[in-house]
């Protein structure tokens, strides 16, 4: 396992380099003078010159990248142009809300997606399978911002059961926190539930066709026992992988969900910075999100290699 981990880490290095360069280069995509774009047209020239110097825009691209990378590697992402706060502090403040939202969404996805996927696979070709296909494809096709709006209309405007937006940290009040987080978590989790359901269905179907399942049935095992003890153990490995590989979708979904429901998380930070053209924050958040995706992909690969020796010796 050791050599595989080293090999996998080494192969990730060029991608890490490219990802950091891409995040940094976002500033260079800005047409015209980036400093003017960030500050607006009515700022005096001295301020523009100062910002250009602060961001290193008066130097060559490679020199700027070198400085930026050196600072970033030491954990210093610079300061926000909006409030002059260190970006690492802003990210640290907002991380708990995003992590909580993601975990709740994953929980909802597992609770809904796995049983539905198993039911569709066991009743393959029947009406339950067809209904499952329609529901899961609908879940994948539903724009999350529309689902969020429909939930607000139903539960806040019509029924008045839940507050439409806001956030209370978990440590202050668990009940209030959950009341405010339930709609965002469903918004983010429903898409994931559809993806989990599709994956569960197809991997359960694959395992159901294997010889050892037939042997278990031939021995007279009850169908529930065949599914629960024999099929699920093998079929759920790709499902866990599917969830691990959805970090990017969760991050993208978090931007929309947190913006609509007013949750002060990383996604909301990204959106606020984008609208304000606060590029140092945009660069940091985009880089951190890409790193989160790469790390979860790496963990999924390592988990797979651990479970399946053919991968590490392949």
């Amino acid at each position: 396992m050791g050599p595989f981990i080293v090999k996998r880490l080494v192969s990730a290095l060029p991608v890490l380099f490219l990802v950091s360069f891409a995040a940094f280069s976002l500033l260079w995509l800005v047409p015209g003078d980036a400093a003017v774009v960030m500050l607006g047209p009515d700022v005096d020239p001295a301020t523009v010159v100062a910002l250009r110097r602060d961001l290193g825009l008066d130097r060559s691209l490679l020199a700027q990248y070198g400085t930026w990378l050196g600072r970033t590697l030491s954990g210093d992402f610079g300061k926000s142009l909006r409030d002059n706060r260190p970006i690492s502090a802003a990210v640290g403040d907002r991380l708990p809300a995003t992590i909580e939202l993601s975990l709740l969404a994953m929980g909802i996805a597992l609770v809904l997606g796995i049983p539905a996927g198993i039911a569709a696979a066991v009743r393959r070709g029947g009406w339950l399978d067809l209904a499952g296909s329609v529901v899961s494809l609908s879940g994948v096709s539903m724009p999350s911002f529309w689902l969020a709006i429909l939930l607000i209309i139903l539960f806040s405007v019509v029924l008045g059961w839940l507050p439409p937006s806001g956030y209370v940290p978990l440590r202050e009040s668990v009940a209030m926190n959950l009341q405010l987080m339930i709609m965002p978590a469903v918004t983010l989790g429903l898409w994931l539930a559809a993806a989990v359901m599709r994956q569960t269905r197809s991997s359960v179907l694959e395992v159901l066709m294997l010889d050892y399942v037939r042997t278990a049935r031939a021995k007279g095992a009850h169908e529930l026992c065949v599914i629960g003890r024999h099929v699920l153990k093998n079929a759920l490995i790709p499902v866990v992988t599917t969830i691990g590989l959805q970090t990017g979708r969760l991050a993208g979904g978090a931007v929309i969900t947190e913006t609509i429901f007013g949750i002060p998380g990383i996604g909301r930070l990204a959106m606020d910075s984008l609208l304000a053209r606060d590029f140092p924050v945009i660069q940091a958040v985009v880089l951190l999100m890409a790193l989160a995706v790469l790390t979860s992909n790496l963990l999924v690969d390592l988990a797979y290699a651990y479970l399946d020796p053919r991968i590490r010796y392949g």
Partner: protein
């Protein structure tokens, strides 16, 4: 059902016969027509896609109102006979804007996927066919793009380039390219090991002939599926960008931007948020149904 299948099979055979001899995609098209008819959800998706294309093309005929004509005396009207879906905050007819919005969504979906497909196939062919360091560099580049959450990268590129449909489409095309590149490369690597490719090569076929006559026709199926599913994804990303305020700008009618406007009046006029969302959902669902059907048809193991 059996009768319909038989007729479809006949149509398929006719199509195959009418194509010029040697046309490499004839068999594929014939089997596609036959099986999509058999696949219920796929057929439903195809009908939905045709309907949206019809609405987009004939928008000026279908709409009674100019989508940008303001009527400040009649803002936020609820649905009525005069305005079937009501009016927005500037008194514009919602149905008219919805009908014209189909153009933006389809344009964003189809045009971006076309360019992403061209770029992705070119890069994938290059990587898979040339191999070596070219392949290594190209695939690491694609890995780097894939590492960014698609929507976040599209948002960041749109924010950097500036707001507007054109820049949003550039961003969506960039985000969609790696899927095509990786898919094409994988397929090329598999197909180029087949004996018929080795035979053609031994027969003196040039690289160009090998790629266009032997490799490309054999990797079309998964690319077609990817195209259909990518259009669905591109429509959602465009709508998301417009909803968040960095995509299509006013007064151009776009479903995402209409939803953004409706969200501002969610207490007073909730119906404003229902119709544009339903339009996005139904269109994306149609493309996904079609993609799923095409996938089932083209992959014999899924039938």
């Amino acid at each position: 059902m059996a009768e319909a299948g038989l007729k479809a099979a006949d149509v398929g055979m006719d199509m195959r016969d009418e194509r010029p001899a040697g046309w490499p995609w004839a068999g594929l098209c014939a089997s596609l027509v036959f099986h999509v008819r058999k696949h219920r959800l796929g057929a439903l998706g195809a009908v939905g896609v045709v309907l949206v294309v019809f609405v987009a093309i004939f928008a000026p005929v279908l709409s009674r109102y100019d989508p940008n004509a303001q009527d400040l005396a009649n803002v936020l009207l609820s649905p009525s006979a005069a305005h079937v879906l009501g009016t927005d905050d500037l008194g514009r007819d919602l149905l008219g804007r919805l009908v014209f919005g189909a153009r933006v969504s389809l344009q964003a979906g189809v045009v971006t996927v076309f360019f992403a497909m061209l770029a992705g196939i070119t890069l994938g062919l290059l990587g898979g066919f040339v191999g070596g360091w070219v392949d290594e560099v190209l695939m690491r580049l694609m890995d780097a793009v894939l590492a960014f959450p698609g929507l976040v990268l599209a948002l960041a590129i749109s924010a950097a380039l500036g707001q507007g449909l054109g820049n949003a489409m550039v961003a969506i095309a960039i985000v969609s390219t790696p899927q095509f590149a990786r898919l094409t490369r994988g397929q090329v690597l598999a197909v180029k090991e087949f004996e018929f490719v080795a035979a053609a090569r031994a027969g003196g076929a040039s690289n160009r002939r090998l790629i266009f006559l032997h490799v490309l026709p054999n990797i079309t199926s998964p690319i077609v599926v990817q195209c259909v599913l990518s259009v669905a994804n591109a429509i959602i990303v465009e709508a998301s960008l417009s909803f968040l305020g960095v995509g299509v700008q006013p007064p151009t009618p776009s479903w995402g931007a209409m939803l953004r406007m409706g969200y501002g009046y969610i207490d007073m006029a909730p119906w404003l948020s229902v119709a544009p969302g339903l339009a996005i959902f139904a269109t994306v669902l149609a493309f996904n149904f079609l993609g799923d059907g095409v996938q089932d048809v083209l992959d014999p193991r899924r039938r």
